[in-house]
């Protein structure tokens, strides 16, 4: 079991969970305060549950073009982007954040999916020329600042110029004498920034950030991601069959105009063949349904729940369901278990950052 480099700074009573062999903080103190931080001020997220995998060697870019579903031709050491990684059958292995580096790139896995991603990449690299795949997770500490005023925190504790960096840009910089890689990217729809620091120095930086932003656990992070329909891979690919791109509705993470990548032909064939099921968000006032719970209309099964959670600060549930394509639309009343739910238009919460300028 590995632990976070930030664990020594967790407040007493922090609740952690074992997510794929990593102790991940799910709740630091009061979930309502943590949720309010990300939607109203600034939250600090421990991203230790994500793996950092380096793609290196002269063949790194060619390899990345094959294994990533989006085009990395224009990736530089000053840019980042998100992409899916697909298996040969077109099913989703993981969603990654690609950090462009001078010699290759880092792939940041989604939380809890690092082992699957690493195994997949290593298997593909065995047949590739001049490429190395190295798990460097243990060398780094990774945390995020997100919220409508996260830019203010970045300005106060690091550097005001970093706060206004363009979306999906990266800079190598120093913070308190520590070399860090700083990225403007996020998961919750709010202003988002990430700090990738050497593991031995990361704790001090976390402590500094925690003086200005509220540490928030995985429970709040995943709810905030769901609210803006950012995929939460460890829930959305949990079924044994493996989710397809189209079923997940993650088309935006696949660039079908790119000529060749692993899984491309299978995804396009499925697209041409037409829908089987589609994902739609829902809310309701009943108990939180388990994944796989049947969704019905007039007693007839029309789909099943992918996953659902209790909303923080509201007395209802929020979840995703995979339903017949003709019913994958907002504004419908369906039945989950014995409770009525309403299907929703994404995003389910409008991030305050969309109407909050950086000043």
């Amino acid at each position: 079991m590995s632990t976070s480099p930030f664990a020594p700074a967790y407040p007493e009573g922090t609740a952690c969970a074992d997510i794929a062999g990593v102790q991940v903080p799910v709740r630091f103190s009061d979930p309502t305060a943590e949720y309010q931080a990300v939607r109203e001020r600034a939250a600090l997220f421990d991203l230790t549950g994500a793996s950092v995998i380096e793609i290196g060697g002269p063949g790194a870019t060619d390899f990345a073009q094959r294994v990533l579903a989006r085009d990395v031709e224009y990736l530089t050491s000053e840019t980042t982007m998100s992409s899916l990684v697909l298996a040969d059958d077109g099913s989703v292995v993981d969603q990654v954040v690609v950090w462009g580096r001078e010699d290759g790139m880092y792939l940041e896995s989604s939380i809890g999916r690092g082992a699957e991603l690493l195994a997949h990449l290593q298997e593909r690299a065995a047949d590739a020329d001049a490429v190395t795949v190295t798990d460097r997770t243990d060398e780094f500490g990774l945390f995020a600042l997100e919220g409508p005023y996260a830019w203010g925190v970045v300005g106060r504790v690091i550097d005001a110029e970093l706060a206004a960096m363009p979306f999906e840009s990266i800079v190598d910089t120093r913070w308190d004498g520590v070399d860090i890689v700083f990225a403007r990217a996020g998961l919750t729809g709010e202003y988002g920034y990430k700090v990738l620091a050497p593991r031995e120095s990361a704790l001090d930086l976390w402590v500094k950030a925690a003086q200005e932003a509220t540490p928030a656990g995985l429970e709040v992070l995943e709810l905030a991601m769901l609210e803006v329909r950012q995929p939460v891979l460890r829930h959305e690919t949990a079924d044994s069959a493996g989710a397809s791109v189209l079923e997940m509705g993650a088309n935006w993470l696949v660039d079908v105009s790119k000529d060749e990548f692993v899984g491309r032909d299978q995804v396009l064939a499925a697209f041409e063949a037409g829908s089987t099921v589609r994902t739609i968000g829902f809310s309701g006032t009943g108990p939180v349904p388990e994944p796989g719970t049947e969704v019905t209309v007039d007693g007839e099964a029309v789909g099943e729940v992918v996953y659902a959670t209790r909303r923080i600060g509201a007395d209802d549930t929020l979840g995703l369901a995979r339903v017949r394509p003709e019913l994958a639309a907002a504004g419908l009343r369906l039945t989950v278990a014995d409770a009525e739910v309403s299907t929703l238009t994404s995003p389910y919460v409008t991030p305050r950052s969309w109407s909050t300028p950086i000043i």
Partner: protein, 98 residues
Amino acid sequence: MSTLEELRAVADARRQTCTQIKKMIVTRLDLMIDPEWITDDQPLFGRGLELDSLDVLELYVAIEAEFGVALYDSEMSVFGSVGRLAEHVNPALVEQPA
């Protein structure tokens, strides 16, 4: 509780508006994708379709021409997804849940 047929009809009305928006986006912005590749939940800016501020201006013009709806003073939230935009250009979709 509505019947399956009633729900299908409501979903179909929404789909028609969403499809019209997707075709408009692909045509106006010369995107090299099948309009149906865009999902109803897909954000139009930032992540998602990754449109920029010039694209916004183009879309303002296109939406007014195609739907007769002026969005100039609207918040950016109308571009939060194709579905959200559909509700703005066709408010009847919100008024008639099934």
